[in-house]
Amino acid sequence: MVPKADFDSYYGRPVLNEPTWRAADIAGYLFLGGLAGASSTLAAAAELTGRPRLARAAKVGALGALGGSLYALIHDLGRPERFVNMLRVFKVTSPMSVGTWILTAYGPHAGAAAATGVTGLFPGLGRAATVGAGVVGPAVATYTAALICDTAVPVWHEAYREMPFLFAGSAAASAGGLGLLAAPLSEAGPARRAALAGAAVEVAAAARMERRLGPLAEPLKRSGLLRLGEALSLAGALAGATVGRRSRVAAMAAGAALLAGSACTRFGIFQAGMESANDPKHTVQPQRRRLARARAERDLT
């Protein structure tokens, strides 16, 4: 029987075209961008408060994450050789364009910060670059939230209020994790606290997001990756704050858990978005409810 084109959609097929983004690239990019941005800020904070090894570890980590994120971003392009076309225009309407310019500003700072940090050359310039990267870092960490929310993918778009906080928290947690992993115990205090606060914000934002999205939160609630990410982040943060204070090995394990947790969270968010884009009911039903509400309001007035 020619299948009934049911009320929700045309032969059950999605209304939206599935994002062409590959998870390894773009979810990876979300994670690495967050790690880079937050690490830079953490590095600046560490440097200014006299924690040179934490600062250096964070700077190197930030530069590495930046490099990785650029690799992922370019790898996902259909025409990588045209990457520079990103600089043709500056579009405030495009988070990717804004993000590109943010990265353009951030990249040299992060690079200089790491280079001077490792080599010890030009300490003055290094400090300036470190501070610069630290100030731009949060933007690097959070603009990606606007990037994915500024799509028609139902879960992403509808979650735009919480997403930046979730990303900020997740970024802080991962940066903290990297600090825990790389810095000596003596200097890891900010990393421990960043991890703890970051994980808390990440989990709180996710919970709020799921509550507010109602039926649309289904892909989020169903996501094993998100649950795993939360668990790893919380466990890492708690472990870091407790046993991690005393044991270098424990601190490293906690850091690894935090990094993994943050990555899982980003992959989970990415996956949930893809699922919502591929299920027409997530597109059609909220829109129908919205129309019904508007109609009801019209009828009232």
Binding site: A24, G68, L178, P184
Partner: protein
């Protein structure tokens, strides 16, 4: 499935590289001045000999 795993390898590799580099950076002396001390070329082996 194999293909899927392969797809994620670069990402995992990048993360491991970051962790390693960062870890190494964290173990350098507090006032790390490798290049400033003119020891750039031997920074590698030198790093390995440094202990906490």
């Amino acid at each position: 499935m194999k293909h899927k795993v392969l797809e994620y390898l670069p990402f995992v590799g990048i993360v491991l590289a970051i962790c390693t580099a960062s870890w190494v950076a964290g173990r350098m002396p507090a006032e790390g001045r490798a290049f400033a001390a003119g020891l750039g070329r031997t920074a590698g082996p030198r790093r390995r000999t440094i202990s906490r």
